[in-house]
Amino acid sequence: MLISAISVKLGDRLVLREVNVEFVRGLNVILGPNGSGKTTLLRCIIEMFKPQTGKIEVEAGEKSYAPAEYFGAEMSVLDVLLSGDSRREYTPYLELFSLQSFLERNFSSLSTGEKRMVLIAKALAEGDVVLMDEPTSGLDLKNQVKLREVLGTIKHKVIVVSTHDVSFAQAADRVALLKCGRVIAQGEAERVLTEDLLTQLYEVRVRRVHVDGKTLFLT
């Protein structure tokens, strides 16, 4: 997916400024502070907003979106999965997150994390281009790890995830750092996730340490 020089103005605010970013098949992660424009960027891809300038070239195929905010509808989980006239094989993705037994349950009665996982499973099953807005928020540690593993193994879809979770970005094939509507760096995780860039991004001293063969980021 190629995003060329898009600028988006919402009301009076210029939210995205001349954003150039490329996403590949596999896992792409957008990191950035609150209000940097991550959600707006995702919304442009699904054509919810029209950028004032520039264009977005998306791969052919179905798009799907796992939102940050949604209405906890009073219907069964199965009805939620089938909504939008969708008939897909949801079972393998449900099994990945241990949700198979949830089908008959009322969606609004699920916990925050469980609802989120249902929508994540739905997005993964339906889309060739899968967009996720802060999917790890509300997930417990086990499910965060599970999600990271699952997304890391899917190479045939273009998955774009916006998150605050730096360890999530480590599993990505491509990372973009977004600050104040501008891309300050993008590329391979190893090259982009440096102390300097992350400190600049979040305006907090970020340290990169190695423990037990793993790279961790500490503040």
Partner: protein, 183 residues
């Protein structure tokens, strides 16, 4: 509800003006409060056709309506503009409802009571709500009509019965809504 009050006041003003200016015109009030009486079958065909089309459309579009209810973003991803979609439905339902009211008069609250009951029994998915609300609506209205035709010893407008039944339900829903929000 506020809109209903505004229009209701406007109608009251109009009818008062008409009856003072043209006293020989019979009271519009009784016509405004709907009654189900058999006066011939001609209008029934049109009514039935229009309602059937609307219900069938609702059943066909049920899954998409559900998606628009859950998330705007998910709708865009599937190629549905949620705002246009909602607007289309409002216009469609308003037109058909308007036509029905012009033939039958005002019978209130059926649209609130019936889906509420269906939701309690079958859950809130549009795939169940649309067809079953349509199926439940007729017998319920007939029941209200039977009651209104004799329960007070004389014929009263149907909407009086439906409003009476609906009032406690609405109060209950509102109270439960407030209680839930307390947490």
């Amino acid at each position: 509800m506020v809109v209903a009050f505004i229009f209701s006041s406007a109608v009251t003003i109009l009818t008062t003006l008409i009856s003072t200016r043209f006293p020989f015109v019979p009271s519009v009030t009784f016509w405004l409060q709907g009654q189900i009486v058999v006066v011939g079958w001609r209008s029934d065909l049109g009514l039935f056709a229009l309602t059937a089309i609307l219900v069938l459309l609702g059943v066909k579009q049920a899954r998409r309506i559900d998606l628009v209810a859950i998330s705007d973003e998910m709708s865009y991803a599937r190629g549905i503009n949620p705002n246009t979609y909602r607007y289309m439905w409002v216009v469609l339902v308003s037109l058909v409802s308007g036509y029905i009211v012009s033939l039958v008069g005002i019978v209130g609250f059926v649209g609130i009571i019936v889906p509420h009951i269906v939701r309690r029994i079958l859950g809130g998915s549009t795939t169940a709500l649309v067809p079953y609300s349509a199926l439940l609506g007729s017998p319920l209205l007939l029941l209200a009509n039977i009651l209104s035709s004799g329960i007070f010893g004389t014929v009263i407008p149907v909407t009086a019965i439906t409003s009476l039944v609906a009032a406690p339900i609405i109060v209950y829903v509102m109270v439960r809504g407030i209680a839930d929000k307390r947490y």
